[in-house]
């Protein structure tokens, strides 16, 4: 399924109506392909599609978070609050549902609304009070972490209903494909919507804001509204990820720990430039899937869980260094005068 996505992405890149795929997309697809081949070689479970489907199901929350994070990063910001938001979403849902099946729909909507609200606050403080988003979302992370535990007296209570958990662990019969996990369907829907969104005018304007905000402002773009939209989307998608993770992993106070850095890592692995203005949303999602595939592969190879983070560290440094140096090398190899315009604009 992912290979198809990759191939599709490349085919679109070659099509004339979209002359170039965003820079830095190709490497992550190659890395992803290598990892998937590695999985197929090492893991017997990956001989058939169901293994990859399981991988995709496991990766879905991170991929959704990465898509949300992408919107913020490509428009020139950071969202450090998503991990805390995921924890908050799960803890709130567990406390409010408390095993009561009939409350499911309301609580799902409430969690989504909560994500929306957090994103809105992040965006408003960033755009109206001109606080760097790093600080805003760091503050939001502290506030959410504190507030959620203040509300639950330190330990998450309550239980999720079966209906709520269905999104994270259940699957549905799809004609032709057989059993497909709900989370994969949700992920695909979000991915397609995000890709279409980024093709549209608003999506392009969002990238432009990350590239050169002053230019967008001077040419009449609604910079504040665009950045606000990015934060709202990130908050909303974090809430979706919370719903999936709550079902998949269960209620815990640690469910969202470190997810913000993992999502940022995934986005950067996808070749998206920190600081904004470059990169594609499909590549960001592919970065998240690569990260998850990498962890699975390391597990299969018997690398101890402890070293996992060290490997992750080496890989993100290598990926970013490759993007920075590789870009320069490519530029030098096929030198064209016009290519100078791809230099990051001074801000």
């Amino acid at each position: 399924m992912t290979r198809e996505a990759g191939v599709a992405a490349r085919r679109e890149g070659a099509a004339s109506w979209r002359p170039r795929l965003a820079e830095g997309t190709a490497p992550v697809l190659v890395v992803l392909l290598l990892l998937l081949v590695g999985l197929a070689v090492t893991g017997p479970a990956y001989d058939e599609p169901s293994g990859y489907l399981a991988l995709l199901k496991r990766a879905a929350p991170l991929m959704i978070l990465a898509i949300g994070q992408y919107f913020v990063i490509v428009s020139g910001g950071f969202d450090l609050s998503v991990g805390a938001l995921v924890t908050a979403g799960v803890v709130i849902a567990a406390r409010l549902i408390d095993g009561d099946e009939s409350a499911t729909t309301g609580v799902v909507l409430l969690v989504l609304g909560f994500g929306l609200l957090v994103g809105l606050v992040n965006g408003l403080v960033t755009t109206k009070l001109l606080v760097p988003s790093f600080i805003v979302t760091l503050g939001m992370m502290l506030v959410l972490d504190g507030a959620v535990f203040l509300w639950t007296d330190g330990a998450p209570r309550g239980a999720l209903s079966a209906g709520f958990r269905m999104f994270g662990r259940g699957s549905v019969d799809v004609p032709l494909l057989g059993e497909v996990p709900w989370s994969v369907l949700i992920l695909l829907a979000i991915l397609v919507a995000a890709a279409l969104f980024m093709r549209g005018g608003t999506g392009r304007a969002l990238v432009a804001v990350g590239d050169n905000e002053a230019a967008v402002r001077l040419s009449g773009g609604q910079v504040d509204r665009l950045r606000l939209l990015a934060f709202v989307l990130s908050g909303l998608l974090a809430a979706v990820a919370a719903i999936l993770l709550g079902g998949f992993a269960g209620v815990s106070a640690q469910v969202g720990n470190g997810l913000e850095f993992r999502a940022i890592t995934a986005v950067v692995l996808g070749g998206v430039l920190l600081g904004g203005g470059r990169g594609s949303v499909v590549a960001a999602a592919a970065g998240a899937l690569s990260l998850e595939a990498l962890f699975t592969l390391l597990n299969l190879l018997g690398v101890s869980g402890a070293l996992e983070s060290a490997v992750q560290g080496v890989i993100i440094i290598a990926a970013v260094a490759y993007a920075a140096l590789g870009g320069g090398l490519r530029q030098r190899l096929r030198w064209r005068p016009k290519r100078n315009s791809t230099q990051p604009a001074p801000s």
């Binding site: 760097p132 402002r217 993100i316 920075a324």
Partner: protein, 341 residues
């Protein structure tokens, strides 16, 4: 180079031009806020029939400020340079272990233990700096990557506290003159040296220049790479000092002593609270110490008031965002005036 380019456009539609009048610098605001906080805190604690700034209270505030202050002074240097260091928390754990394991309870090994810990810290800082300057990785990712590598090493090799600090060395953590811990004085001394370095020496000026605009600095002949690497080495050494101090307080090294306290993000918060611009080029150590003292005082007041610990985080987040919003207002007002004039 600056990691957190916010692209906040200085050109905002503004109709009236505010009359230029002398304004408080962020540093002044920080210390005024600190005084206000102490007054309000004293009143609140006083209402409960206790005293905030008695011997124990001062000791409490200064002890809390010591460890965070050391990290934050180092973090100030990297942030001023337009960079960022997310690896300090794991580095603190690592250096506390190295110091404690080298000492292994022997008085004679104190100096080698300290030196080895500082050398390792400097090495980590060098790696950070080189990854950023030579491999041209974004500082956020570079130091996050190094942090993950350190974490992997710690998780692979340690399950809990290790090493043993000789009793003599524990004096560093516990000795005090009146209500003032010796270590707090040492921290202030480190801060003073950093202040002198940043505001009175050429390499210090270069840090501001690089943080202000790395291209302009490079074109003006500033060795930008060397400046960034130096800032990272100094920051890591400061984190190493924190690790050594915490080892002396705990009596042993602990792998997660830095991450449990969240020193990575906390130190960035303290620096920014102290009025240093996250994008670099503006700010300084004096403000940072003010920010650290505010955070430490808040903690102490909440402890005295027996407030729920989770509430602390909420207040801390709100204080951080509010403070930076205040600074941002002043910055944009000033810049808008500058551009329009």
């Amino acid at each position: 180079m600056s990691v957190v380019q916010e692209n906040v456009s200085p050109v905002r539609p503004r109709t009236g031009r505010a009359a230029p009048r002398p304004r408080l610098t962020p540093v002044a605001i920080v210390y005024l806020a600190l005084v206000a906080l102490l007054v309000v805190g004293s009143v609140l604690v006083g209402l409960r029939g206790e005293v905030l700034l008695d011997q124990a209270g001062i000791l409490n505030i200064l002890t809390r400020a010591t460890a965070l202050g050391l990290v934050a002074v180092g973090q100030t240097m990297v942030i001023l340079t337009g960079s960022l260091d997310l690896s300090v928390a794991y580095l603190i754990g690592l250096t506390s272990l190295i110091a404690a394991e080298t000492m292994a309870g022997r008085d004679g090994m104190v100096v080698p233990g300290v030196l080895l810990a500082l050398a390792v810290a400097a090495g980590v800082g060098l790696v950070n700096g080189l990854v950023i300057t030579v491999l041209k990785a974004n500082a956020f990712i570079a130091t996050l990557g190094v942090a993950l590598i350190l974490r992997g090493y710690l998780e692979d090799n340690y399950t809990g506290p290790a090493g043993d600090v000789p009793r003599g060395f524990q004096h560093l953590g516990y000795d005090r003159i009146g209500p003032v811990p010796v270590a707090a004085l040492l921290m202030l001394a480190v801060a003073a040296v950093a202040w002198w370095y940043l505001s009175r020496t050429r390499p210090g000026y270069h840090m501001y220049a690089v943080g202000g605009d790395i291209e302009v600095a490079r074109l003006s002949g500033v060795p930008t790479r060397r400046v960034v690497v130096t800032a990272h080495v100094l920051c890591s050494v400061a984190a190493g000092l924190t690790g050594i101090y915490l080892a002396s307080r705990l009596g042993s090294g602990a792998p997660y002593v830095g991450t449990d306290a969240g020193y990575d993000l906390e130190s960035i918060a303290a620096v920014v609270l102290g009025g240093t611009l996250l994008a670099g080029g503006r700010g300084g150590v004096v403000g940072t110490i003010g920010g650290v003292l505010i955070l430490a005082t808040l903690d102490t007041i909440f402890d005295d008031l027996a407030v729920d610990p989770f509430f602390k985080d909420v207040v801390r987040g709100v204080v951080l965002v509010t403070a930076v919003a205040l600074y941002a207002r002043r910055m944009t007002a000033r810049r808008a005036r500058g551009r329009l004039a």
